[in-house]
């Protein structure tokens, strides 16, 4: 069983649905969008999750922080009548009038592709009591963008691959996965540079195979990646060169002592220290806590954490970030 392997951080599924008889959001007028927004929100009250509603009028940093976690699309948040219902500690997100009328996202810790799919289907069933979804026997579920037409279901696994990253094996994996209609894309990315060796393994095919088959494919690919990562970590623990060890201890030293640290540097160094901890090179570190920390260090997330402070400039954010890391390592 590879479900307990530490490289796999989260499993996620996205189900997209459009309401039959209505134009898709991009072609829908304001009255129509407002009606969809209202009807979906009312229907969601039947779902037993504590939802909070966010739209473009919500607090900007909260939205940025959710956007950095890839739970909402900040660009679409500029639109009127686009909204997000977030429930259960952000494990469940229902997007209204985003690209499609409804997008159900379930994210859960660990490798649980089947379980997240089951949860999303349960929500879909509740909504289907109030709505008929746009569907054709030939094309499946009809969506605004053709890349989602069919199953309208994207499976993702968020995975941390520092050892494979260190051995520059990611490009080969990306190429191999593209043959299976999956992709491996960086989670933390600024321009063309990615940080932290955290990747999203994502399904691309929506036609020609059932959702169950796609789920199984992603599960197997995640298991394979996790096994490769684990193997590379073992090799790393036995054969790490002096240069690599030096880089790791420097990273550890900086994280333990820095008073100011940028987001990008923090992600890069944390990834190295997590690798060292998982490989047994550095002991007595909570890998789990450090991994969770990687998702809490963005400027918006830190601002959100200290939002009671009236003013928080860049240096103060870097200072707060460094303090958070020092506390986790102490």
């Amino acid at each position: 069983m590879c479900s307990d392997f530490s490289p796999v951080l989260f499993s996620q599924v996205e189900l997209r649905r459009n309401i039959s008889g209505l134009c898709f959001p991009s072609a829908l007028d304001d009255t129509g969008k407002a009606e969809v927004n209202e009807r979906v929100r009312v229907s969601c009250t039947k779902i037993a999750r504590n939802f909070s509603y966010f739209d473009k009028n919500s607090e900007r940093n909260t939205l940025s922080s959710l956007s950095e976690l890839k739970l909402i699309d900040s660009a679409i948040m500029k639109n009127d009548y686009t909204g997000y219902l977030l429930g259960d500690n952000n494990n469940c997100v229902i997007a209204i009038n985003e690209e499609d009328h409804i997008k159900i996202t379930i994210r859960q810790k660990g490798l649980s592709v089947q379980d997240v799919y089951k949860q999303a289907k349960e929500i879909e069933k509740i909504l289907a009591e109030d709505f008929s979804f746009a569907f054709s026997e030939r094309r499946g579920y009809l969506t605004e963008s053709l890349k989602n037409t069919g199953n309208a279901c994207i499976f993702s696994v968020i995975i941390h691959l520092p050892a494979m990253g260190a051995k520059r094996m990611i490009a080969a994996q990306q190429e191999a996965l593209s043959l299976f209609q999956s992709e491996l894309v960086p989670f933390f990315k600024e321009g063309k540079t990615d940080y932290g060796n955290v990747y999203i393994l994502r399904s691309k095919a929506n036609l020609g195979e059932s959702t169950q088959k796609t789920a199984s494919k992603i599960y197997r690919s995640a298991c394979d990646l996790a096994a490769s990562e684990k193997y590379q970590r073992e090799i790393f623990s036995l054969n790490a060169s002096l240069v690599q060890l030096d880089a790791i201890y420097r990273a550890y030293g900086i994280l333990k002592n820095a008073r100011l640290i940028s987001y990008e540097e923090a992600l890069k160094l944390l990834s190295a220290v997590i690798l060292a901890s998982e490989s047994g090179i550095i002991e007595n570190i909570s890998t789990k806590a450090l991994t969770e920390l990687m998702f809490k260090l963005s400027p918006a997330a830190i601002y959100e954490m200290y939002k009671d402070n009236s003013y928080f400039d860049r240096a103060q954010i870097s200072y707060a970030r460094a303090a958070l890391i020092r506390n986790s390592l102490s």
């Binding site: 799919y117 054709s136 094309r139 209609q181 691309k204 195979e209």
Partner: protein, 164 residues
Amino acid sequence: MLCDKCMSNEACFHFTLIVNGEAKQVNLCESCAYKLRENYAPEDFFGFTESTADSDEHSQNQKSGAVCGVCGLTSEKYIETGLLGCENCYEVFDELIEPVLLKVNGRSDYITGDELTSISLLAEIKGFRKKLNCAIENEDFEAAAKFRDKIKELIHSSAEKSNV
């Protein structure tokens, strides 16, 4: 492998051309490759200025004239954005959509099975819920109990089928 342009000489140049974000594998003979170099406009040279449709006559007709009667989306607008406006667009722009779906998925047919079962089950559940509400309104509690049990049974069977 024959040259994609003249279809007579053996291709000795192989490269990938990106047209409107879509990758196309191109194989050329020496003569055609030289002509391309002389007058560098690969999209015109190969005659595929639009990536999302075939170059057959029917597609050309769709490209130039089709308009969706429900949402008003034109084929030109669809080609520009790649986005559809409503369910009806899938019928109107069918010929344009087919090659794109093939490119994205490798296949363009929807695999029926659990999804369809689930759809028909949901419709059935919805129908029984309406009947249940009517029975309650008419104070026909015996019938209401039967409908309630039927709904429970369907929900149970639907949950079993959706187990991956």
